[in-house]
Symmetry: C2
Subunit: 492 residues, 2 copies
């Protein structure tokens, strides 16, 4: 398979699709809309997951596991939520296959094994979890419940793309239960902060924290908080959401508790999630025409060492030097790979690790070793330099931190250049068409105007930023009065 990618400028979408497959992050599968996450992609997900899990535990959460299936009667209990997901859910109706009497070796669904009640494959777990919480919560002493689940979910999307939108995806979903509204809102915002910290600090992708408009809310939420990131093509991507669910699910599943005064009240809820979609965001925030660019903190391989043998004699010498370097790097906690495979030339390997976005490449030839140096190449800047072997491990360890910061700075500069305040409809459309990014515009606050703008421009309100300042103005479409700017963008 050629390592050549379509250029981003020629066809961004095609570039993305090729990159995911060629870099071996993921692949299409035999199941419509479902992906195979390949070892390199899964190693990335493991690094992301481990860090998020740590942050969840540090904020007092524990993991648990709830059933994959939601009986239809539970699924439909919270009506808004059910309506939101009914159109795209996989439904189990039978529990057995049998031999096809007309077709030897083939199987058919056994009509006698029809389930009394259909089971929905979870598209999200509020229903099954709140039905369970009902049995766990009697008194204020049972609260809060701070549970997270790592799981697969299924949403039968019609148009799918690897990582960005797949019928099955991996995610975590936090589901918390609280005695008071204040505590639930606090939890919602706290988890939004955890997501923002993770995406910025580990993925090197800057985000804007905000709240969704009613139109864009999670089905069943009172308020949906989100982090929005900007991709290189000027489109926004929702990177994570944290929902204040009010008492909606408590009411749907009759989950009450007795407070300190022995008074019964409905429980307050939150839910929050991020998914393998984040990998799509990572790719589109950082990569280039040569391939991926992995932020060092979560890169499966942080440093790759490629030997450049000249004749058979050089192998033991180089291997010996590398062994020491590898040991030193590992002692510093660096994920290092020594690629001494003999089935590819160094140039092929260079291109391969560039495609895979390994942050630092070290090339080591015999001549270099004689001079006590190696060649160090950075993936982010593509700078190459000759570096002394003395203190090399420490130098590389430092370099990884520099690269992490540089990647964030670049993404931040790009993002900040792409938040454009506009005050007229013409300017609004002009920015969307010719520049892209977020458009900061006044909006009259009505769902009708929001809908109309979407129709006309394909842009949605990504969020009302949490740190918004009040500013009097007029709606960019209707001219009606407005008190603040909101962020519009075309989005994934």
């Amino acid at each position: 398979m050629s390592k050549e990618l379509t250029k981003r400028a020629d066809d961004y979408s095609q570039w993305y699709n090729e990159l995911v497959v060629k870099s071996q992050l993921a692949d299409h599968s035999a199941v419509r809309g479902c992906m195979v996450i390949k070892p390199y992609g899964y190693a990335l997900w493991e690094n992301m997951k481990d860090q998020l899990d740590k942050m969840f535990k540090e904020t007092g959460h524990v993991n648990a596991y709830f059933p994959l299936f939601v009986p239809k009667s539970l699924f439909e209990a919270e009506e808004t939520n059910a309506e939101g997901f009914a159109k795209e859910c996989a439904v189990v109706t039978h529990y057995r296959l049998k031999s096809d009497p007309n077709n030897k070796g083939k199987l058919i669904v056994d009509p006698e094994a029809k389930l009394e009640e259909e089971l929905v494959v979870r598209p999200t777990s509020e229903a099954i979890i709140w039905n369970t919480y009902k049995g766990w919560i009697q008194s204020y002493r049972d609260l809060p419940i701070l549970i997270n689940q790592w799981a697969n979910v299924v949403r039968w999307e019609m148009r799918t793309r690897l990582f960005l939108r797949t019928a099955e995806f991996l995610w975590q979903e936090g589901h918390t239960a609280h005695a008071t509204k204040e505590e639930a809102v606090e939890e919602t915002v706290k988890m939004l902060d955890v997501y923002a910290d993770f995406v910025e600090e580990y993925m090197a992708v800057p985000v804007i924290k905000g709240v969704k408009t009613a139109n864009e809310r999670f089905a069943g939420a009172e308020d949906t908080y989100c982090i929005e990131a900007l991709m290189q093509d000027g489109k926004a991507l929702q990177a994570g959401t944290s929902h204040f669910l009010g008492q909606n699910f408590a009411k749907a599943f009759d989950v009450k508790f007795s407070d300190k005064n022995n008074k019964q009240a409905y429980v307050w809820a939150t839910s929050w999630g991020v998914s393998t979609r984040l990998i799509g965001a990572l790719i589109m925030a950082h990569s280039d025409d040569q391939g991926l660019m992995m932020p060092p903190k979560i890169a499966p391989i942080q440093v790759v060492i490629v030997p450049i043998y000249k004749g058979d004699d050089s192998k033991p010498v180089i291997d010996g030097k590398v062994a020491t370097l590898v040991a030193e790097l590992k002692a510093l906690g660096v994920r290092v790979k020594y690629d001494d495979s003999d089935n590819a030339r160094p140039g092929w390997k260079f291109a391969e690790y560039e495609l895979k976005g390994v942050p630092v490449r070290v090339a080591m030839g015999l001549r270099d070793l004689e001079n006590n140096v190696v060649e160090v190449a950075r993936r982010d800047t593509k700078a190459k330099e000759t570096v002394s072997m003395d203190g090399l491990a420490t130098y590389l360890h430092q370099l990884l931190a520099t690269i992490q910061q540089n990647m964030y700075n670049n993404a931040l500069a790009f993002r900040n250049e792409h938040i454009t305040p506009v005050d007229s409809w013409d300017a609004f459309m002009d920015v969307l068409e010719n520049k892209g990014g977020f458009v900061a515009a006044h909006w009259d606050g009505t769902p009708e105007t929001e809908e109309k703008i979407k129709e006309l421009s394909k842009a949605t309100i990504r969020c009302i930023p949490l740190n918004n300042v009040a500013e009097a103005g007029v709606c960019v479409l209707t001219g009606n009065p407005s008190t603040q700017r909101v962020l519009f963008a075309r989005a994934y």
Copy 2:
């Protein structure tokens, strides 16, 4: 909820069911046969998973993720495998629900959203994975593939029990592809050894390594290797299996490779798995009438500290001393919990942590502190002793290792006492009825006799031990000649 359990001697099965729920490992759910794994149970699973994952990676494996669904045409491709699982699989037939026109607020399956091809919820992933490997393997350079997956699977069992047999369960499944038969067999045995090491060293449960008879083989395997453990009630439990799949799946999915001489050949396969069922084994190998007994190496809480306050003045003094101890224990890598909650008395807490099987309990009262001592209670022996505060953290750390070893020794002694050689049918039945455990008996090697013995005694051949010695004898049922003893038992 009372902490009292049914006594094992009165009703072992009832004792187990109560224990799982009361110790808060897991709970029944609204979905037939599916369980909710509660935070305490999931923390145990995480510890088991982390250790297994480490051992898989140390033996050269990487993780990946394959789709939850298997299209029916792929599912049926390997006929033996398909037959084995067709009778108990959940089938997705539709991808949408719609509003019930006759019943406001209710949903029905949308008949217009019928899938062209039904999807089986994976009961095991050989089919979907080998269909994928077909695209990944062309040459010997692409081999071996050493992949593991952590996933949920569904088997529509009719009689379910928490952890032991649930419709949905969590597991890992390794799927490897090799160029030669020898390499595949070697892999199969290597992973069996990994399982045995894990179960013995971390779960403190001794196992017998063996190979299954043809009757008991995994559907689609050439050979199924297993580890068999013994429960306290004398029944055996299959704790893990490793399958040599031969070329069955390669042939079913047409997966060939060209070898070094450019000759085409079918690829050789293995698969191996352990599941949340291991938690059932853990419970039934170690617990007692007071509750669980967690092996320290995987216990979610290794040491619990319970303060015994006398008056308000004592709290700050005790808390201060505990803070130091907690810090010292954590520095030693000990998972410690300080339970200073004020909503329960010490006696209630003692019973609670006994039920949950925490290996070591430290009680700390004011009088003790004045004497610079604490009370240390072991869960395994129930011994209590007064221990000096000086060097206490180190002492407790050591004690955990002692408990781990003691638990293993006890389980091993019990297991060894329950391997009984017999040479007559009367003795065979007598041991099964009155003593339980493994019966080492001669068998004539035919599936018919095996089946007949099962009918008569409800005992199956658990395995032909790998370290078996040749011994001439006659079949315990038929009197036909036999060359070795095999292990029979009634089993979970």
